[in-house]
Subunit: 468 residues, 2 copies
């Protein structure tokens, strides 16, 4: 059977693009090195028509399909399981930017385009594609849409969903949906675009997208500010939203322990502020120019100093200083890895409840696991925290993860749900949170999701065992 | 059978809220007076639980359900058909604003809240709910979400979809989905929210929504500018986007004939500019204040005058003058009605193709119907035109509509589709465009929509005969 399927796949894409045997780790092992699967074959189509042909061949052979972009996902949705029966469909050869329409502020890219390449193409046209996240040098547009990726500018520009106007996708029966469109308004039937975005390859396979561009800002300014508490951070956020309006494009928070870890593992990185319970990174994107940006920014910080919501601040005086501030923020996950294994959370809360959530949950965790350390940082402007839990000092990190992850998750997720939050803000469900989703999602929503899945993929061949 | 159903409905909501007989025109006749149906009963539940009970009773009795908000829809989706078998479910008693969370910039409103009441509640909290459209004094939040309404500020804030963070809805089987959430990020499964938004009551019944608020602008400025051509309007739009960035909150165009109709039927309205092929209404919302707004605005207009993209401009010097400019724009549909029947279109195009579309389509229509008049106006910033066609002078308007609508639509919609546009930008499909949708939508998309409909409403009781 699998011999016939392999022959059919070779007929679809050419023998050179059907990989069987050899070291396929690049496709079979996820970025976090947490899930290692085994594919029946890695198939690399070069066009939407070839994707459709591959899907039809797999459907005829009853073979499940796992779609993969840059393989940078964090929840195990993009690698095959261990059965050796799943076809790994790599989209990376679909990497053409098909069109830039500057007057319409749109760009049409194939699914396998690397995010950074799309950012650069927009910049070369004098425009901005604002989606930005740590993996941008290797993640693909298809993957960012399949997972509805977030990142650092969601506060102003929305997540991947908000930046997509149209899709081309291949259905479970191998039909191509020609839904590329550069339209700001289109009320012709159900919103299939947003249904596929964030569905992690379980409803259809995205092959191309029309993306929304924005004018480039005339100036960008970055600052770090010291806050005594999360309440003070939230107060600064409100003041920044009032004063900067849509110019506020970044608002990140980092707790003291996060930056202490960075100091320990990357001592060469300069930390402009003295240690403080919370450090905020604020970014303004200004459409007038550097002088206006600076005046706006300094007024905001002066008011905040006077109001007592911040204790100190450092404004970047150059692009290099701005990059260094972002580099501090982006070094936290790496510093964490250097420190050892830990229990990661990607939660969202109403901004109004973040401080209360942290106060209660920090205390609940400390009571159960004295000495436990919290690497708490994230996108406060979106209510999105990476609320990561590290073993108490002296305790074996791997053992703590193995023995306590379930109990720690129960404390954190119970508190998240009680506060009206989300157990997966921007990373998705995949394999990692599938059971939590089944346990915690509204049962009516789950039933609707299952009905939609059965309707669009009746044989269950698209990324089975993920999400639902 | 219908007696038993009526008894069951009375048991759900009380006898006083089940209307049978008498003048039910307010529910059975649509706003455009184009569709008059007959309901089995008008049922007015007072809570989501009562909506669920009504849906279960209708499902048990096999009675179709038409959900209705303010009955201001333009495509016949919110009134019953003429069979006398459909239950008209009016949501207007669900009119509580449940919560305003100012720190989270969210407001939770029940489906029957009038849009203007939501705008006012936001304003009383010092915040802005930016969805704004002509029917705002009577349309409801549930209706604006069911139709994914657009309006005048989509350019900056998006349409209804972009302003909704969470939903509460009743499914076809009478279950309540508790999906209200004030979260900017939530990647826990399929995007049911956006699937229901814009589905015109055919997939579920929205009972409440959590809406996104924005800071109020510190100043707003409005101007009219005269352009020689649509190309010049598009050039002005690009310049305004570059200079004003997200401060650009309105960009409307009106052709000469539109304003001539306003002058004929509403001579008391002052028109600040001399007659010109195209008049643009530009609006800036500034987060700093009136001085900054004026400087920005004057610089934009001075540059445009120098570049030759505009010939003249008038800046509103007061709130009253600004309102008068908007009033001119909003009087076009009324002036059209005064002039007589016409063939309305609500189309969207990539902004880059609007001018070419109009040049070609204007000419094609003029060739086939010499003397035909175009009332062409709309939201150019979104590529959305109300490209309305009026009979040649001297020809009977009603007869023209009756005899030529189909042929005119064929010319217009063929051109729209050829340019990658949408035949329904913001009004939806309903009854009016159901056949056009079946004919013109991508067949794979139609098949996916039908599968989703069958999955979520297997007995076809939610607003049958609309959309699909």
């Amino acid at each position: 059977m699998s011999g016939a399927l392999l022959d059919a796949l070779r007929g679809c894409v050419g023998a050179a693009q059907v990989l069987v045997g050899g070291d396929l780790s690049a496709f079979e092992l996820d970025w976090r090195k947490r899930w290692r699967g085994r594919a029946l074959a890695v198939v690399r189509p070069g066009s939407a028509a070839e994707v459709a042909a591959v899907v039809r061949a797999c459907a005829a052979g009853g073979a499940p399909i796992v779609a993969q972009g840059g393989n940078t996902g964090l929840v195990g949705a993009g690698v095959p399981d261990g059965s050796g029966t799943q076809v790994l469909l790599s989209l990376t050869r679909l990497n053409r930017i098909r069109e830039i329409d500057a007057a319409n502020l749109t760009l049409t890219a194939e699914a396998g385009c690397v995010l950074q390449a799309v950012q650069q193409a927009a910049a070369e046209a004098g425009l901005l594609f604002p989606l930005s996240l740590a993996a941008e040098g290797s993640c693909t547009i298809g993957g960012t849409l399949a997972t509805n990726a977030g990142g650092t500018q969601v506060l102003r520009y929305g997540n991947a969903r908000a930046l997509c106007l149209g899709l081309e996708a291949v259905t479970a029966s191998g039909e191509i949906w020609h839904g590329l469109a550069g339209l700001r308004k289109d009320n012709t039937g159900y919103d299939l675009r947003d249904l596929l975005i964030g569905s992690e390859g379980t409803l259809a396979i995205i092959t191309a997208a029309t993306l929304m561009l924005h004018p480039q800002p005339a100036a960008t300014m970055t600052a770090l500010a010291a806050c005594d508490s999360l309440d003070a951070c939230v107060a600064l956020l409100a003041a920044a939203q009032r004063r900067l309006g849509p110019g506020l494009t970044g608002f990140e928070v980092m707790n003291a322990y996060s930056l202490a870890l960075v100091a320990r593992h990357f001592p060469q990185l300069r930390q402009p502020l003295a240690a403080t319970p919370w450090t905020v990174l604020v970014e303004l994107s200004d459409n007038e120019g550097p002088d206006h940006a600076r005046a706006q920014f300094e007024a905001l910080l002066a008011d905040a100093l006077e109001a007592g919501s911040i204790g100190d601040a450092a404004v970047a005086e150059s692009v290099a200083q701005s990059r260094a501030m972002w580099h501090l923020r982006e070094s936290i996950p790496l510093a964490q890895s250097e420190e050892g294994l830990n229990i990661k959370h990607d939660i969202a809360l109403p901004v109004s409840r973040v401080a209360a959530f942290c106060a209660a949950t920090d205390a609940a965790l400390a009571a159960q696991w004295p000495g436990l350390r919290l690497v708490n940082f994230g996108h406060l402007g979106d209510g999105n925290l990476h609320y990561n839990v590290q073993a108490p000092a002296g305790r074996d990190a791997a053992g703590f993860l193995r023995d306590e992850e379930h109990a720690v998750n129960a404390v954190v997720f119970d508190a998240v749900v009680a506060q009206g939050g989300s157990i997966s803000a921007e990373h998705g469900i995949g394999v990692l949170k599938r059971e939590e989703l089944a346990r915690r999602k509204d049962p009516t929503a789950l039933a609707m999701m299952r009905a939609v899945k059965a309707a669009l993929d009746p044989n269950g061949l698209l990324n089975p065992g993920r999400v639902l």
